[in-house]
């Protein structure tokens, strides 16, 4: 039997092994597809113990492996998961086999390289989620770009080269300042790249200011937050279906995951100080993304812009700094992975039939493809958060969290929800009942078994999370509470004042003492919260400082 602590390393190595086997085997498309499917399913199977053996009562890292890698710089190969990352790892291992399945027919050139790219990408993304060493994190963070670059550029649509280059350079522009920030952290934090140790340290206000913005740039581009989102529609539209699914379901989460893993614990004071900026950007993203989705005539672009809006909800939930907000944000990350992934799959399936992504070309499908239309409708409902579906729970939690923090923010976000309903229903109306403008007659066949099998797991999850979110929330709860207590601004007052001085007065920044008051109030508002996050947790830092 495999030892528990090697599980995560196995998750990284298995896809690489699969890619190597495919790479060295002779070129045979059918065989390649099956091998890729077997390996991705194997990875999923190996990841299942993470779900069952995960200790929900602890916020500590679990399944930890730690090996010395480059001792000269004190760099370790350290991997582990906690409540924040475990669901995202599972999401990745679930989505990848579906990506292989949905490319079964759609990709018929250079299948070998394509499957290798998918497998390598899976390994790199899992690596990002489980890395406990900043250097290791950065290596995976960058490495995952290469296969995605190739997937968009080689197997993409007409403007694929433009989209691929834009995607790569945009993301790299964000990650290089982060590299400098990582180095600065390394020296300030006492010569370690260990994420947990770095999160324990306390840093001067000016230092937090710079590190926060350097990290922000990298993560905001990845999420993508307004106004850094312009690469996303291009990349999504040009990428093949599996690329879009991978991008939307998993890769966008790397950014929000980064906020949770690095920005909040390592630079809590700066996070608080600049939370208003991020909240405003998130709200703009929600409204702007939904608004842009409303006017799209291209199905894929519509879903892409809806991603911008949905990810706005996630960043909103993160930067209200309360348990509901962050739990909602994490759940919403998973939900967005499920529903948007499913919607991209649906768009891809219809594109394979009509060879057009224009909504008007795909009109009037209700008579010919009932199964397809049913599934599309369910996933659209899930996307705008119909009660009973997964997104409802996530969006509800985020809204509760933001109302606690600011009435105005909550109200604006609620407006965004309405817009989401509007564009999703309108899209659905046109596709299902609308008039088709297709010139040539195309016989649109309904979904086959493989395609139904691709969508079925996502369908199950939509309702599972929708009706019984507790197993998911339970896994993240301890970690989220720990994070909330960690990020509470109860550090030395000097530090806070220092930050207020370090920040130019022109920036729309909430002065920190207010934030402190507002936040403790928010945490203690309901009895349930009070017992979830007792004050003794908050004072951990105080205790450490007095000691």
């Amino acid at each position: 039997m495999i030892h528990e602590s090697n599980l995560l390393s196995l998750l990284i190595l298995l896809p690489l092994l699969g890619a190597a086997i495919i790479g060295f085997a002779p070129r045979h498309d059918g065989w390649t597809r099956w091998t890729a499917l077997v390996f991705t399913l194997l990875v999923f199977a190996v990841s299942l113990p993470l779900w069952f053996l995960f200790d929900t009562s602890s916020h500590e890292m679990q399944f930890v492996t730690r090996l010395s890698w480059i001792p000269a710089f004190n760099i370790n190969y350290a991997v582990g998961v906690d409540g924040i990352s475990v669901l995202l790892v599972l999401l990745t291992t679930l989505i990848t086999p579906l990506c292989v399945l949905c490319s079964w027919k759609a990709i018929d050139t250079r299948v070998k390289e394509y499957m290798m790219a998918i497998l390598i990408m899976e390994a790199a993304i899992i690596g990002v989620f489980v890395a406990l060493d900043l250097f290791l994190f950065f290596v995976f963070w960058e490495a995952e770009l290469i296969p995605m670059f190739l997937i968009i550029g080689v197997w993409g649509g007409q403007r694929r080269v433009y989209a691929a280059l834009k995607f790569f350079l945009y993301t790299m522009a964000g990650s290089l300042p982060m590299l400098v920030a990582i180095l600065a952290l390394y020296f300030t934090g006492g010569g370690t790249f260990d994420i947990q140790q770095l999160a324990q340290g306390s840093y001067s206000a000016a230092f937090q200011f710079w590190v926060f913005w350097a990290f922000f740039l990298a993560f905001a581009i990845k999420v993508p937050m307004f106004p850094f989102h312009t690469w996303l529609p291009d990349a999504h539209v040009e990428a093949p279906t599996a690329g879009s699914v991978m991008l939307a379901s998993v890769m966008l989460k790397l950014g929000t995951y980064g906020f949770l893993r690095f920005s909040l614990p390592i630079t809590p004071d700066a996070s608080h100080a600049f939370a208003p900026v991020i909240l405003i950007l998130s709200l703009i993203a929600i409204i702007w993304g939904s608004y842009m989705a409303l006017v799209q005539t291209d199905l894929k672009k519509l879903v892409a812009y809806s991603s911008v809006g949905h990810m706005g909800f996630v960043t909103l939930g993160i930067f209200v700094f309360n348990t509901e907000g962050i739990e909602g944000a994490i759940l919403q990350m998973v939900n967005h992975g499920i529903t948007t992934g499913a919607l991209f799959l649906c768009v891809g399936m219809i594109y394979e039939r009509t060879h057009s992504r224009l909504i008007s070309d795909c009109g009037g499908l209700r008579m010919t493809v009932p199964i397809y239309v049913t599934l599309l409708a369910i996933f659209s409902f899930a996307s705008f958060g119909l009660p009973g579906t997964n997104s409802f729970v996530g969006e509800f939690l985020v809204l509760v969290g933001s109302f606690k923090s600011s009435l105005l923010a909550g109200a604006i976000a609620l407006g965004g929800v309405v817009l989401t309903v509007a564009y999703m229903l309108w899209m659905l109306q046109r596709v299902v009942w609308g008039e088709s403008t297709r010139k040539e007659e195309v016989v649109v066949t309904d979904l086959n078994g493989r395609e139904i099998a691709t969508l079925l797991p996502l369908l199950v999850l939509v309702f599972w999370i929708g009706f019984n979110p507790e197993p998911f929330l339970a896994r993240m709860r301890a970690s989220v509470e720990h994070l909330v207590s960690e990020v509470s601004p109860v550090r030395g007052v000097n530090n806070i004042e220092g930050l207020n001085e370090a920040v130019p007065p022109s920036l729309p920044v909430r002065r920190l003492q207010h934030a402190a008051v507002a936040n403790t109030a928010a945490v203690n508002r309901t009895p349930a919260d009070a017992c979830r996050a007792p004050p003794c947790q908050i004072s951990n830092r105080d205790r450490k400082q007095t000691l």
């Binding site: 000269a72 290469i146 670059f149 790299m172 020296f187």
Partner: protein, 484 residues
């Protein structure tokens, strides 16, 4: 001056190569043109023998010979060993290329060996005179090698430019050295350092001399604003010669700069580090930005070399074991990547056709997936994308810069690497996204196929496991540069 027999041991590698060069020069006269392979094998044997001697005489600590003119320490051993390796790889890559172009002659190979002696003397020099001697031996050999293709007017033009500008640089260097000699009264690096430290030397003359020395060094490195010769020479010379210029001499150049600035002029560090900052930033900026608009691959690599030299200088000016170690690591990694990239151009250009424009790489992934994959690794490594070794090298240099407090320099360096990433990516784009212009099958020999595979995969493997090479560099630097 007395001659002591024990002085011979530290210079044994140089003596061996010199003797072999003379033997090969004569032996080659007796070999007919179609038997040139024998000469080639002799040269490879010489390189192997030299490596064995270096390994065999390693481990005696720092040994001075010839009245402190010459030093044998671990930095020199490591760099010489890598020089042997780089030259051996370069010869292996270019054997067929040179044969086709009728350049595969005894003169070429003997000149390579003389250049190698020059490099080894530079690496081991402990005196301004020895440094200069090594540099001139290397430079003169290289000028000649560039001009070896007599019927190519571009090559002759390149050789001429190289010669004129190189001579100018030598003059600057020599002039600066004479200033330093005038101020300190000694030519020995350690003694120069002590004389400056004692405060007896005239500061004005020292700094005046330093300016000329740094200018001369920048010329030889090809750092902006002394870079003008690099693109023309890289483009004009036959690719095999470009590969020679772009690989092993960079190791010697690192040793040269480190010996003069760190060993000899350490007390003036505040002066020269400021100069290096300007050189480094200007090189990274101009190199990376200008490379974008190039259509000739060799010219593009020339500008990329300029940018990489800027990065190497960044490590040097950051100082300390970390900085010098990072700089040396960077130089070694750069040589590895450079060999691979030029090797790829050589492999693709056969039979009277040079694959040195960007368009020649179009659709390579369809013509040869494996070569395209190796080139992809090399290009991502040049751009500094993990998990390749190029990233580790850039990382260690940035690490040194941040540790030395030059955070803004690190930011600038990072910014220009991003710009640099674009033109490396463009090659990947051409190879993978575009359709090939010619469908001529690529035929490469088994030996070069193996070599390029090892070279390309080394870029990946060293990126995953950089510890050994990194600590070798750190140990070498610690013993050599900071003992004094």
């Amino acid at each position: 001056m007395n001659f002591v027999i024990s002085d011979l041991l530290p210079v044994l590698p140089e003596v061996f190569v010199l003797a072999m060069a003379c033997v090969i020069l004569i032996a080659d006269l007796l070999i007919r043109q179609d038997g040139r392979l024998v000469t080639y094998l002799l040269v490879q044997l010489t390189l192997l023998g030299c490596s064995l001697i270096i390994v065999g005489t390693h481990g005696n600590g720092v040994v001075y010979a010839f009245h402190n003119m010459f030093v044998d320490d671990s930095m020199s051993d490591v760099l010489k060993l890598l020089t042997c390796l780089a030259l051996s790889m370069m010869l292996a890559y270019s054997r067929l290329y040179l044969t086709v172009r009728e350049l595969f002659t005894g003169e070429f190979m003997v000149l390579v060996l003389f250049a190698m002696i020059g490099m080894m003397v530079m690496i081991s020099a402990n005196n301004f005179l020895t440094l200069y001697l090594g540099l001139e031996l290397l430079s003169l050999s290289l000028y000649t090698i560039v001009a070896l293709q007599r019927d190519s007017s571009i090559a002759i033009e390149a050789a001429m430019k190289y010669f004129v500008l190189g001579s100018l640089a030598s003059c600057l260097l020599l002039y600066g050295m004479s200033m330093l000699y005038g101020a300190t009264g000694t030519l020995e690096l350690g003694a120069v350092s002590q004389a400056i430290q004692s405060g007896t030397a005239d500061k004005n003359i020292l700094v005046f001399g330093l300016v000329f020395v740094v200018s001369g060094l920048a010329f030889k490195l090809g750092a902006v604003p002394f870079h003008m010769w690099v693109p023309d020479v890289y483009q004009g010379a036959p690719t095999a010669v470009t590969m020679l210029i772009g690989s092993a001499p960079k190791l010697a150049a690192f040793a040269f700069v480190a010996r003069i600035l760190v060993e000899g002029l350490q007390p003036l560090v505040q002066h020269w580090s400021g100069m290096l900052i300007i050189l480094a930033i200007a090189s990274m900026a101009l190199g990376n930005i200008t490379a974008i608009v190039q259509t000739n691959l060799k010219r593009m690599f020339a500008y990329s070399t300029i940018a990489h030299m800027g990065f190497m200088l960044l490590g040097l000016l950051s100082g300390g074991i970390v900085g010098y170690g990072a700089s040396m690591f960077y130089a070694v990694v750069y040589v590895l990547m450079s060999l691979g990239s030029f090797g790829m151009i050589i492999l693709l250009s056969r039979m009277g056709f040079e694959a040195d424009t960007l368009d020649d790489f179009k659709g390579l992934s369809r013509r040869s997936p494996w070569l395209a994959f190796l080139m992809l690794l090399l290009m991502f490594s040049m751009a500094g994308v993990p998990p390749t070794v190029g990233f580790t090298a850039k990382f260690s240099v940035l690490n040194a810069a941040v540790q030395a407090g030059h955070v803004w320099l690190a930011v600038v360096a990072v910014l220009f690497s991003l710009i640099g990433a674009f033109y490396y990516l463009r090659i990947v784009k051409l190879m993978y996204f575009d359709t090939p212009e010619s469908h001529a099958p690529i035929t490469i020999g088994q030996d070069t196929a193996l070599l390029i595979s090892v070279n390309g995969l080394a870029v990946l493997l060293l990126g995953l496991l950089p510890e050994t090479l990194m600590s070798v560099c750190a140990v070498a630097v610690r013993q050599s540069l900071l003992l004094h």
